[in-house]
Each structure stands twice: as C-alpha cells, then as structure tokens.
C-alpha cells in the first residue's frame, strides 16, 4: 500500500486572533484542524447557511476550498528562500472593496489631450490597483476623457519607443465570464492562508500538487508543468551550483536528471507532479548534497528516499531524518542517517 502524500510531513501549528482570543490552527496527517473549536463542523455548517463565521472556521473552510487550487502553486513559495510578504492586511484591503476610494482617486487615464497608454490589461489584480479599478469603474469615465488630438501617432511612436525600452507595450484583452467580486474574495482567502506561514504554505502547496497528481492533468498540464519547473529548477540549480535558467524541466513518469548532451549547455530534469508533494514540499528536495528523486518509505521523522549524488547516475537509497522541532513554523531540515 502506497503511503499518503502527507506521510513525510510533521505537524504544524499557527495561532490566529479569533473572537478576541488567540486560537490554534493545527495541521497534522494531511488535515487542518481548529482545536479551540470543538464543534468546528457545526460551525462550518452554520457559516455555510449564512451565520457568522469565527476567524478559525473561516480559515478552515478556506483551506478546504483551496486544496486543489492552482493559484496556490502560482502564488506560493518556490523554495525555502522564497519569502512571501503579503498578509492579512492586503487580504483585508481586497475584501473591504472600494469604499472610500472613489471620492479621492485621481482621474484615471492620460492627461487631457494625451494618448491612451498601451499597457497590458490585467485581470483581477491584487491590492490597491484592484480597489482603484472598482472605484474608477463605478464612476465610469465620461465620453471624451480619453481624447487625443491630431499628431497622436507621433506621440504614440514616442510611447512605443518608451515601451520598447522598458518592455511595456501591449495589450490585454478582456476577460470572459469571471465574477470579479468572487475572484477578489477567493484571492483574499488565499492570502489569509498564506499568511499562516511557510510551514502552512508548503503544506497547502503539497495538498494541491497531490490532488492534481492523482489524475490526468488535462487542461491543467501547462500550469502544472510551470509549477514543477518553478520549483525543480531552483532545486537542481542549488544542487549543481548552476543557474536555474540552465535547467530544463518537464513532467515525466521517469525521474531523471541528465546533461543536455549534443554539445548543449545545461541540465534536463524530469519528474512527475507528485514529486512536488512527496519530495519538494516536505523539504526533501536537497539532502546533504543529494537530490531526492523519490520516496521508498514515507514517514516522519524518519524516511527512506532515492537520491542522486550527480546527474546521470542511478539514484541510491538513503535513510534520512528530519531535524528540529516538528511543530516549528519553519521548514524542516533533513539529514542523511544511513546510506
């Protein structure tokens, strides 16, 4: 029987203000729990029916809703050195909406008579821009506010040169069918979850990768390929002391790290999506100078792994052990205990 994806994770704990008290959120064995809310399930039901939700219950519900959300892999950490600075303040700003903005927001767009800048249209942006967008949209620019005069093309050329110089030309096309308010709320929830700290960020990322690796990725394949590349490349680069841009990653059933060959520079790395949940997220990617490619026996704090010492070789079985406090909010550190 295959071990569950969370078998190499120790428990993690964080606290949050909830109803004026410091409450604990505990992750263990693949589940998030709220020990200070013994009737959590009942509170979840009440919340779903429209009742007030305590902060802990809100986070518990959000966690459940984001465990297969690809946005977690887009926003979440790529390595232990990748620190997220967003937090509940940003989430709250998103959640609060545009109140108070409309009356103060400067008029959008170009100066009178100026050109319409050709910058990318982006959708559902975070933080202030989103709030400003809603404020501005609510007012709706009057006709002619984007007017520009003859000779515009000459100015447009100047703009184009500037854009070319700073790489900023373009367009973005309108979106289709998503509800911005819902999207904002979803993003705000995700920020709240990520603010629980690195330990929770990696566990949530692992949950998503595990959920996505259980079946054919389908249309999510490009997103998963990017998620894998964004995490595998830095790990391989750190292992070999090379530039991550010199690592070509791909989703593959075979787990292989090889030289490019053919006189080309760089490394090819292929791993299944499950590598993210089983190896990368628990902090096992690099252990004492070895790149871990798979798990033989999953467990915590002791596990047996397959690891490479150099590219192109056959992975060797190693016994590893997690060092440090199991409930630490920081990432675990693993060491080889037996070759």
């Amino acid at each position: 029987m295959t071990a569950p994806w969370w078998a190499t994770f120790g428990p993690a704990e964080a606290t949050r203000r909830c109803g004026g008290l410091e409450h604990r959120l505990r992750w263990e064995a693949g589940r998030l729990t709220v020990p200070d809310h013994p009737e959590a399930e009942g509170e979840l039901v009440l919340g779903a029916l429209g009742g007030d939700q305590p902060e802990c219950i809100r986070l518990l519900r959000a966690w459940g809703e984001h465990t297969d959300d690809l946005d977690v892999l887009m926003l979440g950490p790529r390595s232990s050195a990748d620190t997220l600075t967003a937090g509940s303040r940003d989430a709250e700003q998103l959640r609060r909406g545009p109140a108070g903005w409309a009356s103060h927001a400067p008029r959008p767009g170009p100066a009178p008579g100026g050109v319409i800048p050709g910058m990318p249209l982006t959708w559902g942006s975070l933080w202030f821009s989103t709030l400003r967008s809603f404020a501005v949209n609510a007012r709706g620019p009057s006709r002619g506010t984007a007017a520009y005069g003859p000779g515009h093309a000459a100015r447009a050329t100047q703009m184009a040169r500037l854009r070319a110089a700073r790489g900023g030309a373009h367009a973005f096309m309108p979106g289709t069918g998503q509800d911005p308010d819902r999207e904002l709320a979803r993003r705000a929830e995700l920020l709240d979850l990520l603010e629980l700290g690195p330990a929770f960020q990696f566990r949530l990322s692992a949950a998503v990768a595990a959920a996505r690796s259980q079946h054919d990725p389908g249309t999510a394949r490009p997103a998963l390929a990017a998620a894998l590349a964004g995490r595998l490349a830095p790990a391989v680069a750190a292992w070999l002391h090379i530039n991550p841009d010199d690592v070509s990653c791909s989703i593959g059933v075979e787990r292989a790290i090889t030289e490019q060959g053919g006189g080309r520079k760089g490394i090819r790395a292929a791993m299944p999506v499950s590598w993210l949940s089983e190896v990368w997220a628990p902090g096992l990617a690099l252990v004492d100078g070895h790149l871990v490619t798979g798990i033989i026996r999953a467990g915590f704090p002791d596990a047996d792994v397959l690891a490479l010492e150099a590219p192109g070789g056959e992975p060797a079985a190693l016994a590893v052990q997690c060092q440090g406090d199991a409930s630490s909010s920081q990432l675990p550190r693993w060491r080889i205990t037996a070759p």
């Binding site: 790529r78 967003a86 009356s103 103060h104 927001a105 959008p108 008579g113 800048p117 910058m119 990318p120 249209l121 959708w123 559902g124 975070l126 202030f128 821009s129 400003r132 967008s133 404020a135 949209n137 709706g140 620019p141 006709r143 520009y148 005069g149 003859p150 515009h152 093309a153 447009a156 050329t157 184009a160 040169r161 854009r163 070319a164 700073r166 790489g167 900023g168 030309a169 373009h170 367009a171 973005f172 096309m173 309108p174 069918g177 920020l191 990520l194 490009p222 997103a223 390929a225 490349a233 070509s248 990653c249 791909s250 989703i251 593959g252 059933v253 090819r268 292929a270 299944p272 999506v273």
Partner: protein, 550 residues
Amino acid sequence: MAGGGQPRTGGDVRERAETYLRLLAESELRRALGSPPIRRPGLATASLPLRAAYRVLPPAAALAARAARPLDPLVRRVLATRERVQGRALPAASPAARWAFGAASGLAAAVSTSVGAAGRAGWQVRRVVRGGQAAGRFHGPGPAREGLDRVGRLASDFAAAELIDLAAAESIVDGLESALAARSRLEPRRAWAMRRGIRRQRGSLPAGRVVAIPLGHAVAVQSEDGPIQLALLALVLAPDRAEVTVAGRLPAVPGGEARQRRHWSEPLRASATDDRGARYEAHFTGGWDQSRIDGALSFRPIPPAQARWLEVSVGETDTVRVQLAGSQPVTADLDEESADPVEHFLDSRAERFLRYRWLHGAGGAAVAPEAIAALREIGAVSPASPALRRLAALLRRLGSVSPEVQGVPWAELPEPWASVLDSQDAADGPVGVSPLAVVFPEIDGTRCVLTGLRSEPDSASLQLTGWLGPALGWPSFADEATWPSVWARDSAGRWHIAAQNGGGFGGGHANLTLRLTPPIHPKATSLEITLLGKSGRAAATVPLAWQDMP
C-alpha cells in the same frame, strides 16, 4: 493587406503556447526575485492628511509522459528565446524621473482635496518625494515590471493569434502579477484602473440602422483668435448617437504651443431642429494641433429615426438642412472569409510595421519580435508560412535585419504593400476635402462609418465614426488594433495604408482620424476603401468630390 494561410492551429500547439507562456512567467518571477524588494516611503512622520492621501492613492512609490515530449525542448527554447530577444531591449528612459513626478503630482492632487491641508501637505509631499528619491525608495519600472510586461505582451499576442483563451491569458498575467506583488517586487500602476474602466465601458454595437449622409458644407465659427474654418463632412445617425463630423483649420495666430493648450471646443457649439420642431444641442469632441482640428459635433438628445430632416446650425452661421428621409448611404458588403488567426496575426504585424515605419523609431517595436520568435519556437508557424514569408520579404525590402525571420524564404510582396513602398516618398496629393458617407458592416466586433477625406500633398486622412463591441481587445500598439486594418486604393492604382492618428474613445464609441500613406494620387477620382479583419473584409468605392480645404 494579404490573405491565405495555413490550417488553424491544433490543440497541441495551443498547449505548447500556454506552457511556453507559463514557463516564461516562472522565469520572469525567478529573475525578479533576484532584485531587491520594493519599499514604500516612510510616512510615519507625515501629517494625517498626507498619510490619508497616501492610503487612497495608488502606490505612488512606483506600485506526464505525454507532456514530457513537447515540454522539454520547449523549456530550453523559452529561455534561449528570451535571452536572444531581450538582448535587443533598449535601456529605460529615465523611469525614475517619470515615476517621481507621478508620485508628486498624484499626491498633490489628492491632498488638495483634503480640507485645509493643501499647503502643509504640499510641502510634505515635496519633502517625501525628495527624500524618497535620495534614498532610492521610489521605484519605477524595474526587473519585475519589465518581466510582467514581457509576459503580458506575449499573452496578448498569443490571444490575438488565438493560441490561448483570453481567460487563460489573463490568468497567467494576473498570476505572475500577484506572485510579484505577494513578494513585494511590484506595486501596481495606475493605468490598470483606466483600462479596466474602458473595458467595462465597452457596450454594444448599434442595435438599429446606421445612417450616414454626406454634407460638404463649409462654415466659419468665431473664436477670440479669429474664425475657425470648418467643413461639415457627414451626419451619422444611429440609435445611440447623432453626430456631424467636421474637419477644419484653426485661425492663424502667433503662440503655437500655447494655442494647443487652448480649449478650441468651447466656441464649437451647434444646435439643430427637426421637422417636428424638436431641438437638439451639440458639443464638440475631437482634437487639434497647431493648425488643424478634427472631430464631431455630438447631438443630444438623439433625433428619432422618424425625423424627416434636421436643420443644423454651427456657431453663428446659417443653418444647413439635412434630409434624413430616403437617404441611401453607401454601404459595404461583408465578405466572410475568415483568415487563419496565426497568419492573420503575422500579417497584422507586418502591416503595423508598414503603417508606422514613417514614424522614426516605431518600426522595431511594431514587428513584435518576441511573439514571432515564440510562435516559431512552439511550432505555430513554420518557415513555409506564407505570412511569415511575406513579413520576411517586407523586412528585407526595408533593409531590416531580424533574427526572427532568419532562414525564411521570401515571398513576393503583396501588391498593396509594394505599392505603398513604391509611393512612399510621393508628395503630389491634391489639397482639399471630400465628404464621404460609407457605412461598414460589423467586422471583428466593431462597426464604423467613414465620413470624410482630407487630402494634403504628403498624406491624407480619413474620419472614422465607430462602435466598439464587448468582445474587442484593447490595442496593443499605438491603438491600431482597435479596428480592422483599413486600406484604400485610389482610381489611379495607388494603395494607401491607414494608421490611427488622433481621436477619442469613450462609452463604446470612437471618433478617429486615420492617416493614409502615401498621399492620394492627383488624378484619382474615386477611392476603394477596404476594412480587413479576422472575420472577413468589406469594401466600398466612393467618388472623390474635392472641396477647398477649410
């Protein structure tokens, strides 16, 4: 103006396109993480109004096995392509100065709305800005912004070539933007708000009949600097707008630069009455430079379709009666021959290059080398692509060296392109105005009416009254992508390419001036105008009836 192409792109190419874009986003995120995080200026010592102003402003400180086969070489190529293409990027033109100015002016504007705080806060704003600059805390476009722009630009181009769904393209750019912001590598910029605002304004195309009636009346409107000479070109009447388009000349008075800042629209008031005695008022929307003024007089309320005539009065001039009943505008028929989207994209970039090459320095940006390189990398286009071969031929003809078309055999240049290039130095255009009224069918989610032609020795310009539908993309370069390509061929056989050269957008409406290059042939007596979009093309021929230039 070109046609023909390869079959539409398949699912594998679309998947490779999305993968390419997402890998590029990862690469740009990694690159941005190599730069220091942004910091907002410290406001702890600023006054309450300033802190309040800061909070309400935009951040002024600057703001499985199947997959393995295509993905592996793709990753290498994403990186190689990025390096190759970016290696030609020009250095930023003093971004810090621009951002700092924006911060100062933006803060000052907001603070001025705070009761009684303007003077005190203004000083503090200056102090904060100076301090911020000195400490390097205001950041303009940096690695994160540049990377986001690269991904946004390519996402937009892939969407234009229908290699990726709009929603997926937006999701990728948005995801990168969010990831950068969540790491304090990026603060959003103010233009997003405007763009989203404009996007949301895009309403609907006119539900009912669109009527256009050529006018060709000359009027003079008094201003404090002298008479503004106008030619009333055409009346456009639709369920949601009623406009008389105008082209004119401003009075010749000294003080060039200052005159451009004057609001010439003030004296340009008009009124109208219909056969039932209803009265309508109009205001001018449009633009001007040192000598010319183009635009439209927009009437409110909108006259009903049942009106038989309108008597239009501009300024203090005599009224002009316009018969509405029985009017038969020239209409263009739609030839629905949809083009392969990738081929169309390549042709549009070639035409863009052709369109703007007369503007010094615009050509390089117009060709979108990153997109072309990416299209080749993901296999969306091959060296055998007719459109790519045309582009290669165009670049060769213009003496432009581009690695993106290296090894691509040249095709014969399309006749219109060759004609434009052959006549590019012509300066023999007649001087005058010719009213037009050509109603075009819906193409690519747009409707438009061409209402007049102004001809001068070195160029000509068309007046366009248009509607932007809800599914329309936002212009990617110099705003030209808003409309289908506009081409014209005069009866003397000379082709002309149109480029937007002024006008205005708002509420789903547009009033644009299109510059035609080269000038109209002096012996031309008619003009065939063609709109060319993804969904087809429409053409109409109109006689040229020159009137004196106002």
